[in-house]
């Protein structure tokens, strides 16, 4: 009796001369899956956006501007990593931005006002974000509540707690450990922040988890067909809860990046970042229906958001129009996703 965890038992293959295969191979090439389009589309959109802005502004295609885009993308991109995990499970997280803000206030206020050692304060801040992830996940899995409503609630709770705890004060005079990720190093005269490296490392780590590990494959499966995944003996609820907690930890890392970038603890930060993060994920080709998407797509999606913001600023477009364009973009991206699925 073979161990069911290692190898299919594979009953003896004695039967069958070469009869006609039941599932015919006569069909032509396999249908192109909607995912193919979803994978190439974002890259093309990014290139088109870059070409467009390059024709509109001389400053767009410079290393300095590229570095600036990366810095702006850093926080949104990190939030989008956590958001990708949740959207892959067919969920959504509206609370990511305010949870990040709460984490940043917790770590800065503890360090500056309460005199907690900075490294410990950072860990507590990340822990606070993980706790929010746990609450989201517990409500979604335990009470089977829709993620949209749960995270709409925690979005407000995190926002309120941030303002209550900070007493609406911006916290400055941060210890250097806390702002280290905002400091920069130079490559050929252009400054890049260390935080950018953290973000890229996070993308690489999550790519590995999603494509190379059991955990990642199961995450796709539970987003794609939760019932089938459950029937295969996978503890779906436990894994789903884990996803929300992991996303919370990632928001905590985003909080640290935010603090490094702003050099202060700002209670008003992150209020609209949830939509930017969701936009990045959706523009990157991840389906809101779950089970389909790539983390590299999210990186491209975040870059699209960053390039648009930056390019529009260079063109002298008022910031309110940027919000307008982001809103339109989300709807376009979701429509493309929906239409691509319908064709299958």
């Amino acid at each position: 009796m073979s161990d069911p965890q290692t190898q299919p038992s594979g009953q003896v293959a004695t039967a069958g001369g070469p009869s006609e295969p039941p599932a015919s191979t006569k069909r032509g090439r396999p249908k192109v899956s909607g995912d193919r389009i979803a994978q190439l589309g974002p890259l093309i959109a990014l290139i088109v956006a870059c070409i467009f802005f390059a024709t509109q502004s001389d400053r767009f295609l410079t290393l300095g501007n590229f570095s600036l885009i990366l810095q702006q993308v850093m926080v949104i991109g990190t939030l989008a990593v956590g958001q990708t995990l949740i959207i892959l499970t067919a969920g959504i997280d509206l609370s990511c931005g305010t949870v990040m803000a709460f984490g940043s206030i917790v770590m800065t206020k503890l360090a500056v006002i309460s005199g907690v050692p900075p490294v410990l304060a950072i860990l507590i801040g990340i822990g606070a974000c993980a706790a929010f992830g746990f609450i989201n996940g517990a409500l979604v899995t335990g009470l089977s509540l829709p993620p949209f409503i749960v995270t709409l609630g925690t979005f407000n709770i995190a926002y309120a707690l941030t303002h209550i705890y900070s007493e609406d004060e911006t916290i400055s005079g941060l210890p250097s450990v806390m702002t280290a990720l905002g400091t920069s190093f130079r490559i050929g005269g252009t400054a890049f922040t260390y935080g950018t490296l953290v973000t890229l490392a996070l993308f690489a780590g999550v790519w590995f988890m999603l494509s190379q590990t059991t955990w990642g494959r199961r995450l796709f499966a539970l987003g794609d067909n939760p019932e089938a995944t459950r029937l295969m003996g996978i503890p779906v609820k436990k894994q789903l809860l884990m996803v929300y907690v992991v996303a919370g930890v990632i928001y905590g890392i985003a909080a640290l990046l935010l603090v490094g970038r702003l050099n202060v603890g700002d209670p008003n930060a992150g209020l609209t970042d949830n939509l930017d993060a969701i936009t990045a994920v959706v523009l990157g080709g991840t389906s809101l229906f779950g089970g389909r998407g790539t983390i590299i797509g999210t990186l491209i999606g975040a870059l699209i958001v960053g390039v648009l913001r930056d390019g529009l600023v260079l063109m002298g477009v008022q910031s309110i129009y940027q919000v307008l364009i982001t809103g339109i973009l989300v709807i376009v991206a979701v429509s493309v996703d929906q239409l691509a699925r319908k064709r299958i």
Partner: protein
Amino acid sequence: MSTGTDKQPILQARGLVKRYGNVTAIDGADFDLYHGEILAVIGDNGAGKSSMIKALSGATIPDEGTIMLDGQEVRFKSPLEARRAGIETVYQDLAVAPALDIATNLFLGREQKRAGPLGSILRMLDHKAMRREAERQMKMLQIGIRSMSQAVETLSGGQRQGVAVARAAAWARKLVIMDEPTAALGVRESGQVLELIKRVRDNGLPVILISHNMPHVFEIADRIHIHRLGRRVAVVSPQTHTMHEVVGIMTGAVVHDLEHPGDEHEDDKGPGATPAGEQQPQ
């Protein structure tokens, strides 16, 4: 397969009872599955056949009665326990993840990890080995799919069900339960899946086939278990009974007397009409 083991059912149930409040879903049901056979389980809607199958596959826990797997009593508390004991189930609604590839679907929940610390610590998947094994499995069942990294949604309905059947056949050590495996399929694709089910049996795994489709049942079943009002009322052979007679027993139009087999039909002297539970597969 030695003839000696054929005497003993691979899966046997005696006197199963399951009540839900005032409703008795299983009312003293018996069940026998032998080595090397396809046993069709049929019954009208509400006859309680799916409740019985659920009890056999661990999805519900019966209130009374015993279940013996290979001569040993088993008490499954969950489908996972039944699966660990070697019973795999194929569900009618194509329980596969369409966006994932064939190899991933075949190994879902039982992924093969890399050797050494890459697998044990990083839980890294051995994509190559899983693809190789998937290919071997699909070839063995003669399912003509070329690439194991193809998403399941790019396959036809018959091929998709083929993936589900191949998965069950790959992991089952004792038997496979198929719950309406052709219900969602067209005529041609149903035919492919029926062939596939025969091949699973010929490769050495007994099959329980739950189906509403009489032509399908008569095409591939070795014996037919007829369920009515919460219990087994007859086990017949498709060789000795016509579809009409079987439907008659199933709906109660013909009373199949277990004590006096053959009474309901004068011409019927075939072995298929022996009392349920004592009959052996041919």
